[in-house]
């Protein structure tokens, strides 16, 4: 009885690749969870949904929206049904990301030093030099251990035949990892015993690995280096994440005003005077990092920090200038980088990408605007993009005019019909589009990818945009051990 009610028209609603359903059958990895759900009443499920909300609220896992002077606490919508990834799928993703990161890191080292890849014509020089995130301040500066990308959040999607594609490489200050950790904690409370029964791999070691990597970067040879997490402050929407990570790693959470640079060394102001800082895990963007070098009006950063960095007196994580590698126009060249640096075929595919400053590409895109998504090369968060299939004629015209004005600022990709996963909505399961952001950590010991990640879900029916600013939510993400 409940079976039909819960799953009612689920299959009929799916279009393309569904993570749970195939040919009227439930995939093996979802059976255990579905069994449990079907044994529950709608009331129980509603209660669980309510409990999840309450837990997010009472733990303060919220972001504050400031409206007419008063802060309103919002929670990032959470769907109670986990997204499940099989061991073999994960194995494939993990090897693919590892390969990609290796190449991206080599690219950053190259582009800020010898620039072989530009001289060999594999990546066009103009595209690098026209990228606003390419920092001349980083040229010729040997970063510790040659690591630029210490923390990466690589966005993956699946199209209708289930193939994984890389959608974006987030190499600057990727966020969301606290939701990977917290969502798991919530699931443990919502469904007792379900996680061990399904053989789900744990994600809890993430902060330990990150902390170990940060310690290893300390330029001072000391047993207990001072490590800090630099946050823009409590008004930042990811502030909760900053506090969580600082707490889980046992490091000091600092704001720009807590730090001061003296004689090319960074110190924090403490009740016992100044204390030297060795490693900064910063969640402040490059342009706000140092008002002496970048935006002079920034009060989030620390004056002089770049000079301390270049002198090698402090390590900064992630390195400055990484934006040149996750620029959406450069994205198209990542497969070429993998071939160039590693002499390997890319494991994970890129979404086909049209460069709009290339005339042939541009004309092709203009002729097929309805099946394209157009993105700003430096936009993020789902802002500044056009979904061709649902845009009005005026919107398309407006974008066309913008593109012609400055084609370097835009790329276009065919619209990918993202895979769907079951979400619990008003007493029923309904398919909603999802993506996946696993978090990779690179330290002197190599690249580690915690088995899990953040699954973002487009909660609006039919929507293909998963960003939280566009009505997206998240799910706990399970990677099965076997």
């Amino acid at each position: 009885m409940q079976t039909t009610e819960l799953l009612n028209s689920y299959f009929a609603e799916t279009a393309g690749w569904d993570e749970m359903y195939t040919d009227n059958n439930v995939r093996q990895q979802y059976r255990c969870v579905l069994d449990l759900l079907e044994r529950m009443t709608i009331e129980e499920l509603n209660r669980k949904e309510e409990l999840a909300k309450k837990m997010f609220m009472s733990q303060g896992i919220t972001f504050t929206v400031y409206n007419s002077g008063e802060g309103i606490e919002k929670i990032f919508p959470f769907d109670i049904i986990p997204r499940i990834i099989t061991a073999s799928e994960w194995n494939y993703i993990e090897t693919g990301i590892r390969q990609r990161l290796k190449a991206l890191n080599l690219f950053l080292k190259d582009v800020y030093n010898s620039q072989f890849i530009l001289k060999d014509g594999v990546v066009p020089t103009e595209i690098v030099y026209s990228c606003p995130h390419f920092l001349r301040e980083m040229i010729g500066f040997p970063v510790p251990h040659d690591i630029y990308v210490h923390v990466a959040g690589i966005d993956l999607i699946r199209d209708q035949d289930g193939t994984f594609y890389i959608l974006e490489d987030n190499l600057r200050t990727p966020s969301g990892v606290s939701y990977m950790l917290e969502n798991r904690e919530i699931t443990k409370r919502l469904f007792p015993d379900l996680i061990p029964r399904n053989n789900v791999r744990t994600v809890t070691e993430y902060p330990d690995i990150l902390h170990r990597n940060l310690v290893a970067l300390s330029p001072r040879q000391t047993a207990s280096p001072t490590i800090v997490l630099l946050t823009p402050g409590i008004y930042n929407s990811a502030y909760f994440e900053h506090t969580t990570l600082a707490r889980l790693m046992g490091v000091e959470l600092v704001e720009g005003r807590d730090l001061v640079v003296d004689n090319h060394r960074v110190y924090m102001r403490t009740t016992a005077g100044l204390q030297q800082v060795d490693v900064i895990y910063r969640r402040v963007d490059d342009e706000f990092l140092d008002p002496l070098v970048f935006r002079p009006d920034s009060i989030l950063g620390v004056a002089g920090i770049m000079s301390a960095y270049r002198k090698g007196n402090v390590a900064i994580v992630n390195a400055a200038g990484n934006g040149v590698a996750d620029d959406k126009a450069i994205y198209a060249y990542v497969p070429a980088m993998i071939r160039y640096y590693l002499n390997e075929e890319p494991i994970l595919k890129n979404v086909p990408t049209y460069q709009l400053d290339n005339r042939d590409h541009r004309e092709y895109v203009f002729a097929n605007m309805n099946s394209m998504v157009v993105k700003r090369t430096n936009g993020s968060g789902g802002y500044g993009m056009l979904m061709g299939h649902s845009a009005s004629a005026e919107e398309i015209d407006r974008f066309r005019a913008e593109i012609i004005k400055d084609p370097r600022q835009y790329i276009a990709q065919p619209i990918i019909n993202l895979s769907s996963a079951p979400c619990y909505m008003h007493g029923r399961l309904r398919p909603r589009r999802i993506d996946l952001r696993p978090y990779a950590l690179c330290g002197p010991g190599g690249i580690q990818i915690v088995p899990g990640g953040l699954t973002r879900v487009a909660l609006r029916e039919g929507s293909l945009v998963v960003n939280s600013s566009q009505g997206g939510g998240s799910k706990d993400t399970w990677v099965l051990a076997s």
């Binding site: 609220m57 009472s58 733990q59 303060g60 008063e70 606490e73 402050g233 409590i234 502030y239 506090t243 600082a246 707490r247 046992g250 490091v251 000091e252 959470l253 600092v254 704001e255 005003r257 807590d258 924090m268 102001r269 403490t270 009740t271 016992a272 005077g273």
Partner: protein, 308 residues
């Protein structure tokens, strides 16, 4: 510890102490207003805990529900429980890695409780005492969680310094205003009884003095009693006790400056008697107490919290 963190812990604690003081005061005064309907006035409470001028205070001082609403949930009143708890939480939010998760959740829940619309309605329509009790219990939970979960480090010292400094200021304020209202209010047993109830000193008073209510005894209890946890003397002793823990090799100069101020203040209270206070004049004496406490607050600000 970061100066900013010490500052936030100190203010989180001061705001929570103030919240507790306000809520107890409101609860007992409300009870008292039900006992004495003739000309009960909220004026002293408004003078202690709000920034209203005499005229504005007079406008609502006979209307209990309005005062409660103003003191608990009014968004315009900088000293309303809602605003103070919000500020305590903002401070806690920015130092979450220095307080325990339990403490953060406790403050966060307090914040959500005081913002709950049903609660506000309750103050208007139902029995306000049960609403105030809910809030007071949240505050007690805060004290308990702090005591049970917080590590006894520097942060804990700053939390307690804030708490006892605020408590000293409050006790001095309450006494000063209650004594200054003496001429106008009807001075009788109930007046002192409700004052003592509102600062949880009633039972101790009865056990210490067996001869009914007397202004001298109240003064002695609230300023000089060593065992009364809200007395000025007790507060300064605790303050000194926690301040001792900040004595390390770092920042010695700052420590010595503060130590001088705290020591001087402690002696001043310790070697006062009821007679010496009366001789000096209650108001002058209490004003001096407040000034000394403010001076200490400023010195902490200058030597320990200055970061920008």
């Amino acid at each position: 510890m970061l100066s900013r963190v010490a500052d936030s812990l100190y203010w989180m604690s001061r705001y929570m102490e103030r919240t507790d003081g306000i809520l107890r005061m409101l609860r007992i005064n409300y009870a008292s207003s039900q006992d004495d309907i003739q000309d009960f006035s909220w004026r002293p409470v408004l003078r202690i805990f709000s920034y209203l001028n005499d005229e504005q205070a007079a406008a609502i001082s006979n209307r209990s529900r309005e005062v409660l609403q103003y003191m608990v949930t009014d968004r315009e009143n900088a000293n309303s429980v809602l605003n103070i708890v919000t500020r305590a939480r903002e401070n806690a939010r920015s130092v979450q890695d220095h307080i325990t998760k339990e403490l953060w959740q406790c403050l966060n829940e307090f914040y959500h409780t005081v913002r709950d619309g049903n609660l506000v309605r309750g103050l208007h329509e139902d029995d306000p005492v049960s609403i105030l009790d809910v809030l007071i219990r949240q505050g007690l939970l805060y004290y308990g969680v702090t005591d049970v979960t917080m590590a006894r480090g520097e942060g804990y010292a700053f939390i307690n310094i804030g708490k006892f400094l605020e408590r000293g200021v409050q006790s001095a304020d309450i006494l000063d205003i209650k004594f200054s209202e003496l001429d106008t209010a009807r001075m009788d047993t109930t007046y002192w009884k409700y004052l003592l109830l509102s600062i949880s000193g009633y039972e101790l008073y009865l056990k210490t003095y067996r001869s009914g209510f007397d202004a001298r005894n109240v003064l002695e209890l609230v300023v000089l009693n060593q065992d009364f946890p809200r007395s000025v003397l007790y507060s300064v002793k605790q303050l000194q006790n926690y301040f001792e823990r900040l004595n390390t090799d770092h920042n010695r100069e700052a420590w010595q400056k503060l130590n001088f101020l705290i020591g001087r203040f402690h002696s001043r209270i310790k070697y006062s008697t009821v007679d010496s206070i009366l001789q000096e004049g209650i108001h002058t004496y209490l004003k001096g107490v407040r000034q000394d406490l403010f001076e200490m607050g400023n010195a902490f600000n200058q030597h320990y919290f200055a970061y920008s």
